[in-house]
Amino acid sequence: MSSSADGTTASLYVPVDCEIIAVSDLTPHEKLFRLRLKNGAPLGHLPGQFVQVSLLGWEEAPISVASSPTRTDYFEMGIRRTGSLTSAMHELTAGDLIGVRGPFGRPFELPKLRGHDLLLISGGCGLAPLRSLIHYCEDRPEEFGALTILYGAKSPGDVLFKDDFALWETSARFACSRTVDQVPEGDCYSGGVGLITSLIPPLEIDPHRTVAVLVGPPVMYRAVIAELKKKGLSSDRIVVSLERHMRCGVGKCGHCTIEHLYCCQDGPVFWLNEIEHLRGAL
């Protein structure tokens, strides 16, 4: 909750000012925004949480934080141009102000992840929220066992965070694989081609030491979960982050419900066994 100038507590629904420090292109459709709260305070988030980005005149949209709280000078968000607000965001540059509310939502449960081997799997834009956890792991490697990153994108042009990936690939701490669904003719891409599910069978996994964390588009979950189950991973060892159109972020507006759950409050991060039996969750 924010505070207004006269010291009274401002409404839950009033955003706080946030300055854009830098903007960079991730793909032709995605940009990375580096931001800082105008009052200088850290955002105070945990990996997996999101904020409601507010552009006056464009309403709000839920955006996952793509950076780790271990890096306190700033926070980052990867934003794909899909609707009117995100298109307006893409017009902004360093120095511009936006509004944010949050952080909101249930983060990745670090206490339950610590000490485990982590299988960090993402597809498409899902790498942005997962990056907050990957960076956390990078900064606190001692907290975890083996760290494996799997990433799938539609095509080489859709691959996000190429620079990050290059670092993770060279890091001794991570085992990385990535793939693209298809390569357009004439593209000089040289990496793997195939669905992300193809990356799982070759892995050697100890199902009793491993936790898999999945973030991706709705179509990805079922297929990847099926592969993970073949590896002996049970539902209480699989974490998913669900994309819903959270509009208020605080469990009131009703747009993100999954049966009795409010994705913005009870999620977006869930253990698979909490939601796999719920209609429409996956």
Binding site: S11, Y13, K252, C253, H255
Partner: protein
């Protein structure tokens, strides 16, 4: 026990306007009853539940979130005088209790409580239903209650604030009328309530196939009236309007019966078919809310059935569902 004659009602509530923003049931020129100020029309306490949800006094169809200008954000102010809203039936009061809890839990919705905090809520019960039918006593959930015993309004206070308001009223002997009324009201078994409970059981036992929801969805014209009339429907959308030099953000009632309700910018839509949306409308009240809040969130007020142009309000759907799947 206090009481008011029916003739005293308008003056009594008018007199409260000095200290409260009073809204009470009035009769409009075409015979529609609604919440209005004393003096806006003839007081219309008789006739049962108001057609529009009385909870709208606290959470209106459209209301401001803030106005943003160069000097900062201006939030809507609380009403100058606390609201005093008359006309809640016991079922409406159960709805109000439910949404009070909903808006308070977790993040507290300050916009709702700006109107709700400090407001006085007045119930109506006794033989003041449609055509003199009986309305169950609330026996709580409000500050005070007007109970029509066919000759006068017994005034029963349930809170200190309620007692303070009715303090000056005439006293009547405690002749057991209230107890008698309570017993008389209790013998009526509400068929609709039974249907709602049974339908809830069937849905929660997974006895209702998807084809049923699609069939009901075929009869839905997506007017959204069921949601807008429902006192426990609280979903809202947000709208920004850009004026010269300022942006006004407001929120308005939304409806899960619209395709755009859950549709994401990518096109993905967890409620992407009429059948799923129809299921959501009923399932949410009869199965999801019991899971989350421990109670069915349809309090049998009947508004969605009254407002639905095609006859698929929750009672109608519950009855059809029981008829088809109740004896399998």
């Amino acid at each position: 026990m206090k009481y008011l004659s029916n003739e005293q009602i308008p003056d009594f509530f008018s007199s409260l306007q000095a200290t409260h923003e009073v809204r009470l049931p009035i009769m409009l020129p075409d015979g529609t009853r609604c919440l209005g100020h004393p003096g806006d029309g003839t007081v219309a306490l008789f006739g049962g539940a108001l057609p529009a949800k009385p909870t709208a006094a606290f959470f209106p169809h459209e209301g401001p979130v803030f106005v943003a200008a160069s000097e900062g954000f201006t939030e809507p102010s609380a009403p100058e005088k606390p609201l005093l809203v008359v006309g809640f039936t016991s079922r409406d009061l159960a709805c109000l209790r439910f949404i009070d809890r909903f808006f308070a839990e977790g993040w507290r919705d300050d916009i709702y409580f700006r109107n709700r905090q400090g407001a006085l809520v007045v119930g109506v019960s006794g033989y003041c239903g449609p055509g003199g039918a009986s309305l169950a006593l609330a026996d709580g959930d409000c500050d005070f209650e007007l109970v029509w015993d066919r000759t006068r309004w017994l005034v029963v206070s349930h809170t200190g604030a309620g007692s303070a308001i009715v303090e000056g009223l005439a006293e009547t002997v405690s002749d057991g009328t209230l107890e008698r009324l309570r017993k008389e009201m209790a013998v009526y078994e509400d068929e609709n309530e039974k249907a709602i409970r049974r339908a809830s059981e069937l849905i929660r036992a997974d006895r209702v196939p998807d084809t049923f929801w699609s069939e009901i969805g075929d009869r839905c014209i997506a007017c959204t009236g069921c949601n807008l009339a429902c006192p426990t429907c609280t979903c809202f959308g947000v709208q920004d309007w850009r004026y010269a030099g300022r942006v006004k953000r407001s929120r308005m009632w939304d409806s899960c019966q619209l395709d755009g309700f859950m549709r994401e910018a990518s096109g993905h839509n967890p409620l992407g078919t009429e059948g799923l949306r129809t299921r959501r409308r009923i399932h949410h009240k009869l199965a999801a809310d019991p899971d989350r809040w421990g109670e069915i969130s349809c309090f049998v007020c009947g508004r969605c059935d009254a407002v639905c142009p095609t006859g698929i309000g929750i009672f109608a759907v519950a009855r059809e569902l029981i008829e088809r799947f109740g004896n399998i």
